[in-house]
Symmetry: C2
Subunit: 225 residues, 2 copies
């Protein structure tokens, strides 16, 4: 029974990694479509989001079957519950990649990326891709040192998010209302994307340390290193 | 054992209703603080969000204990898993109320509500309060006819969300960049709030109908009535 359980868990883990990799591809394409106004690339992201959603639903079904058939307790139970939560976060990250692609499509043939913020958004896109890629690696390897890398990227994204608002609200901002709307939404999407990744990273850290309620403090400790 | 399980479920349900009621209070105060620039009310929402977060964590712990001790299967198992998801959505709705209160605080002593959009945001606020209140009632009574009421309010919120962008992007929009940012963020928060409520409503509907995968279609059917 224990053997079967561990095979099931490996299956769950493999699927989480697969979804995280699909999310990495999605955010990479979405942010490139946003900075290059590549509407074909944007369409691809929008179309493929259904695959991520379907895979998340399949994974949830598998997790529920494991709960029903193998009735795990203690740490094993928490792993399965955590998988359900991770799947929800990954699915939401896929949605956010889709939203960024939708901004590209909405403004096409105009550029979605607001003038004067091109470098900022290219940097935010690169950081989100790094976050997603690191998250997939964390889920695959369970190497908790990667949590800190995600946290660092998330901090940088927070700073860039604030800098977007500073720019938009400064006196020399010359963007039209459309550019202000795009900058506000896109920046928010980037920040939320990394937020979800951090929340997943916390769960992996919890599973590694076994300490559910103290995950925030554990992360704080890691940050201080 | 069955008796114990049902008592546990009633406890879970009672706690979900309690959290939904706290979220209703939060969104009511947040939207009123936003339209009246009442910073004290906004502070109250920001401070009390921790209570919602704590209650969601306690509920999750209870649900995990039920899974471990009573090892439910079939529909019972799905009820507990659904409770975990509903708790995550309610917690997120509380966060969104907090974000709206933060907008109020950030602009104070200026008005956060953008000129020319006052009536729209008052209406959005009222709809979100209605959505939250109906959701608490749905969780308490399991009366699935309430799902349709939430869906209708969510549709109206979607229309208002689109109308905010139409206004902001129209030629006679005279708002500064700050007003454009506030309108964009606040409108997005209102729309997301109702989105989460709808996602909870779908889960309750699923529990009532027992059909997990077809919940979207079932909702579509309800909409056509």
């Amino acid at each position: 029974m224990r053997e079967v359980f561990h095979q099931s868990l490996e299956d769950v883990q493999g699927r989480l990694v697969e979804i995280a990799e699909l999310v990495t591809v999605a955010i990479d394409k979405a942010t490139r479509s946003f900075s290059t106004s590549d509407v074909a690339l944007a369409e691809e992201v929008i179309e493929n989001d259904q695959i991520i959603d379907d895979k998340a639903i399949e994974l949830d079904e598998l997790a529920i079957q494991i709960l029903a058939r193998q009735q795990p307790v203690a740490r094993d139970l928490r792993i399965v519950v955590a998988a359900l939560r991770v799947s929800a976060s990954l699915e939401r990250m896929g949605d956010i990649a889709e939203h960024i692609a939708q901004l590209t499509r909405m403004r096409f043939p105009e550029r979605a990326i607001p003038r004067g913020l091109k470098n900022t958004f290219i940097k935010m896109g690169e950081l989100d891709v790094e976050v997603a890629r690191t998250l997939a690696e964390l889920l695959r390897t369970e190497d908790v040192s990667l949590v800190e890398r995600i946290r660092t990227a998330e901090d940088k994204l927070d700073d860039l998010h604030i800098s977007v608002f500073e720019k938009v609200l400064s006196e020399n901002w010359q963007g039209e209302a459309a550019a202000t709307v795009d900058a506000t939404l896109a920046s928010r999407y980037h920040e939320r994307f990394a937020d979800h990744a951090e929340s997943v990273a916390k769960k992996v850290l919890y599973l590694a340390t076994g300490d559910w309620t103290a995950d925030t403090e554990t992360l704080e400790t890691l940050r201080l290193q």
